[in-house]
Symmetry: C2
Subunit: 216 residues, 2 copies
DNA sequence: CGGATTTATTCATCACCGTTGAAATGCTAC
DNA sequence: GTAGCATTTCAACGGTGATGAATAAATCCG
């Protein structure tokens, strides 16, 4: 019972590369980077192990290629930046929740973040993107004194939400509804955007700061 | 040049177990779980590979044993719960910063958290401890409506601080001084502890809310 | 003291992992 | 058609964590 396929190229034009990529994506998301072996992917694709190296160079290369087509999280922010400044935190929260709970984008982002936390090379990339695309933009939008630090305080809370809700799945944060999240996190988020000395005036946005303001 | 040690037990009473544990701790903290091989630890300890399995069962067992003697993060909270309620957030922030920047406890906690995020079994343990020791206690201390959810909003921010500052080392949060952290995160943290509907009155703790203890 | 038991240690080996180089085969351009 | 390129399998390598058997010291017990 010699079932080994003949040696060279297969007849027809089967897109083997795409098949491997599909299987890899599904497996990596479901089981995590280290738990998935190249051999098992090759077996599931009905393909020799070496073909994966041929197409993607290495296991890391395959992982990167499989998870490449994620959404760009910066778009959520760009969208949220456009509306009424008074409700900016709510919009960001809604957007973040929508993206991270999207059945295709969410798991991809989670897998990427998981790996960023343990793989320094990958982590540096995430770090750079977040700093440039998130912190700097919020800081520019904020203006005023210590804008970058206020943006950081904002980012801390968004990051905390993501990690506790989606990575560690801590309760009760993991099972709260989006409305509850907005209700409980919105005020603190808004407060973090203000300048630290200031008191919050009831019923209005902190005065004297038109949204197109000066740089930090 | 046959340098192989004789087979059985060594003379004297060398505490080989402790030696292995020491080396393992240093290496795991410096290089991370996956980068360290049991063989390299065994070599550095001048010991056969199988001895590690004999003492600790598996690589995971060794990792757990090597990182077991960490501080109890719940103590930080217990300490902070005792003082003036108005400055509770500041005390927690100072305590968290002190522990996570401690040269011995800090790296241990970071390594544990890193692994908790990628290893579901280990993550479940962290999850349980945090929920029981942190969230529940803060909720009990808070009292009032939706105490557990307000405590969760608090925990989100503390968790976000830890992840962004110590795990991902995002700027500018990673290089801010403790004073700056307290200045920028304190107000948002205090706001998260209040009940969501309320407006913050300047200069005092939230006044007596209507006792309509509605579950959210 | 001396034999039996427990504890510590090495050796040899296993199955599996990711990577690599060589060979074989089909497809495409000239 | 045939030369070259893209795809595919095969075979092997060194490295990994785990495990069972052999051996020697320490300890217990009479």
């Amino acid at each position: 019972m010699n079932k080994s396929a003949p040696r060279g190229r297969r007849p027809g034009s089967p897109d083997t590369r795409a098949v491997i990529l599909d299987i890899a994506r599904r497996r990596f998301l479901a089981e995590g980077y280290h738990a998935v072996t190249l051999r098992s992917i090759a077996a599931e694709a009905g393909v020799d192990l070496a073909l994966i190296s041929y197409f993607f160079g290495s296991k890391k290369g395959l992982f990167g290629a499989a998870l490449a087509l994620a959404v760009n999280p910066a778009e959520v922010l760009a969208e949220a930046l456009k509306g009424d400044p008074a409700t900016f935190p709510q919009r960001v929260l809604r957007g973040v929740l929508a993206v991270w709970e999207d059945p295709v984008a969410g798991p991809t982002l989670i897998a990427m973040l998981r790996n960023a936390i343990q793989e320094p090379a990958f982590g540096a990339l995430v770090k750079e993107v977040v700093e440039r695309e998130i912190v700097d933009r919020v800081a520019a939008w904020l203006g005023g004194a210590a804008a970058r630090k206020r943006a950081a305080a904002f980012g801390v809370q968004i990051g905390g939400l993501i990690v506790t809700r989606y990575l560690l799945r801590l309760e009760p944060i993991a099972s709260m509804t989006p409305d509850e999240i907005v209700r409980h996190l919105g005020p603190g988020l808004r407060r973090a955007l203000q300048e630290p000395g200031q008191r919050q005036e009831p019923g209005q946005r902190p005065a004297g700061r038109p949204p197109g303001g000066d740089r930090s």
